[in-house]
């Protein structure tokens, strides 16, 4: 497999990752997504305190090829945003699972976690996407 995934993270079909920390979650963009988008040139972040809904756009990622929405994997309230990305959007290309986390949130509906994939499921999903 050509795309990096990380143990312990949860994943969505839109290629966002989630790191669960109790009732909080850290959200970012997967390696697969950054590779498909190409070089990232701009990131628009949500406001701290904003309500986000699962499956709805929470951030905007712009690359030399396209502008894409980052869909919130879960519903809840944004508690912190990664302002580093405003100056260094390229972090998403170089370190999508680390330095380039996008926002942190407080989860309002834990049942939504059932919709997320674990590493093995996500890897299988990527392979299927690639074979399409």
């Amino acid at each position: 497999m050509d795309y990096k995934t990380i143990d312990g993270l949860k994943y969505t079909k839109k290629h966002e990752w989630v790191r669960l920390e109790g009732n909080a979650a850290v959200i970012g963009l997967c390696d697969y997504a950054q590779d498909k988008l190409g070089e990232i040139v701009f990131v628009e972040l949500p406001d701290v305190g904003a309500e986000v809904l699962a499956g709805k756009s929470a951030a905007v990622i712009e690359s030399v090829k396209a502008v894409a929405d980052l869909y919130s994997p879960l519903s809840g309230t944004v508690t912190e945003i990664n302002e580093e990305l405003l100056d260094q959007p390229e972090l998403i290309n170089s370190d999508p699972y680390g330095e380039a986390w996008v926002y942190k949130m407080e989860i309002s509906d834990e049942s939504e976690m059932a919709n997320l994939m674990d590493k093995a499921e996500y890897e299988k999903f990527i392979v299927e996407e690639e074979e399409k």
Binding site: K36, E39, V41, F42, E62, V64, K65, A66, P89, E90
Partner: protein
């Protein structure tokens, strides 16, 4: 190969002049007596100092670097880069039109008003709508105007809960931005495996919050939405309206009409379909047509005809107002009207027929070499995927650069988003079989080059004035102004 040349500023030599002014024949006053000190510039102007011939050579050389439909094949998908007949320019330059003033009294501008009126009548016939405004300056402007009309319509009925606009994934690229600009929420509709709007998915989200569906038909995949009647029924039954994005009107002229398909609002891109110049920022024209129930909301003024006299009608109390100064890009309307009259009804129908024939011919040549994800008859354009080539090391963007090296304008790349590594190709009706064959042969050569040395293709172009540009730096840190070192 010609390489980048110096800027005028860099060519400047102190004291060199391209003019000589006669000596001043009025008394010279000190600057302080005319302009207060606080308003005087304190830094140097740094204007370039050059002779006339240096400036002329500079700009003449730059002008030879233009690529346009007058210099070569320009298959930019969704843009309809057809040839722009020069007679259109002649008509727009007729002194009676060119030297008019927009504030001239109506009775002295009857010819211009008649042209606007006749243009509207022709667009009505071609689209099956009831009235048009010719004001919008281009497609996206037309879209915004259209959504404002739809909004005004719903509000006039006290129907204020409609805050969503549905857009298929295969829609024209400006639609989602228009929806946001108009204050609506975008709801995306997926495509089925034929590349058409997924009717069931559409039905599942249509409700009393649906303001409109924006549809491009044929879509950006170049495919005709065969179920348009059922789509229209689903939207109308829920109280929503249908918006037709006319970006792809060049495929259907004289064969079918948006008005007959059930659309309530239509915009046309006259700079695409009706052969007025575009690319490089316009000016364009995006007339918007509506069905009867939306007429009261149209921008003012409309042109009316009474007893063979033409006049502006500003008496529309529910109008959304003006959306362009005066009457829109009048010169562009003259050119488009000339095109319509030169072509005639049969000519327009043939243009669409030939555009579709050319696209299908080229598609069938290219699908021998490239992957065609939606392999069915197309309309005026089709979308290839360079995904297999990308895996070899050179993707859609690299193929585009390789085409530049070989004297062709590339197709649209990386759009529509539903096709990975998309190459969206629209040859238009004005290209000959020989041109299409030459383009197909070039695309085959590029595919062979990728098999042989993808790395080399991925670093092109090599024959252009500038090579591979740093797109990332251009986007993140653009240098838009010359500053003296």
């Amino acid at each position: 190969m010609r390489k980048s040349k110096a800027l005028l500023f860099e060519m400047s030599r102190s004291g060199r002049q391209g003019y000589s002014l006669p000596s001043c024949d009025v008394p010279v006053k000190p600057l302080e007596q005319i302009v207060p000190h606080s308003l005087q510039r304190s830094s140097d102007l740094d204007l370039p100092e050059l002779s006339e011939v240096e400036v002329i050579r500079h700009y003449t050389e730059l002008s030879t670097r233009n690529f346009g439909v007058d210099t070569g094949f320009y298959p930019l998908g969704s843009c309809t880069m057809k040839y722009n007949p020069k007679v259109n320019e002649e008509a727009a330059m007729l002194p009676g039109f060119a030297y008019m003033h927009p504030c001239q009294p109506e009775e002295t501008a009857q010819g211009a008003l008649e042209l606007l009126y006749n243009m509207e009548q022709d667009l009505i016939e071609l689209t099956g709508m009831d009235r048009f405004t010719l004001q919008p300056a281009a497609g996206a402007h037309g879209e915004l105007t259209g959504l404002m009309l739809i909004q005004a319509y719903h509000r006039s009925r006290g129907d204020n809960k409609r805050n969503k606009v549905l857009i298929p994934l295969s829609a024209h690229g400006t639609n989602p931005a228009t929806v946001s600009m108009a204050g609506y929420e975008v709801v995306q509709i997926p495509c089925d495996d034929r590349g058409l709007v997924d009717l069931e998915a559409l039905k599942a989200v249509v409700d009393e919050t649906t303001s409109a569906l924006m549809l491009t038909n044929p879509s950006t995949l170049g495919l005709f939405e065969e179920e348009i009647v059922a789509i229209a029924k689903a939207i109308h039954e829920a109280g929503g309206l249908l918006y037709y994005d006319g970006a792809n009107m060049n495929a259907i002229m004289g064969y079918t009409r948006p008005g007959d398909m059930g659309f309530d609002v239509v915009h046309l891109n006259i700079h695409k379909t009706f052969a007025t110049p575009h690319g490089g920022g316009g000016p364009g024209g995006g007339p918007v047509g509506v069905k009867e129930r939306l007429i009261p909301f149209l921008p003012v003024p409309l042109v009316e005809k009474n007893d063979n006299q033409f006049s502006f009608n500003y008496d529309l109390p529910d109008s959304i107002g003006k959306i362009h100064s005066f009457y829109g890009n009048f010169g562009v309307v003259i050119k488009a009207y000339t095109y319509l009259k030169m072509m005639g009804a049969q000519g327009l129908k043939q243009a669409s027929g030939d555009a579709v024939l050319n696209a299908n011919y080229l598609m069938n040549l290219l699908k021998k070499t490239y992957y065609l994800p939606y392999d069915r008859y197309c309309k005026h354009e089709f979308v290839l995927s360079a995904r297999p080539e990308k895996k070899k090391g050179a993707g859609a963007g690299d193929i585009a650069k390789a085409l530049l090296d070989r004297g062709f304008h590339p197709p649209t790349v990386y759009f529509p988003l539903i096709v990975e590594e998309a190459l969206m190709i629209e040859p238009t009706e004005t290209e000959s079989k020989e041109t299409l064959d030459a383009f197909a042969k070039t695309m085959e050569d590029i595919a062979k080059d990728i098999d042989r040395d993808a790395e080399k293709v991925a670093h092109g172009p090599y024959n252009t004035v500038v090579g591979r540009l740093d797109e990332v730096r251009a986007a993140r840190n653009p240098i838009l102004r010359w500053t003296k070192k």
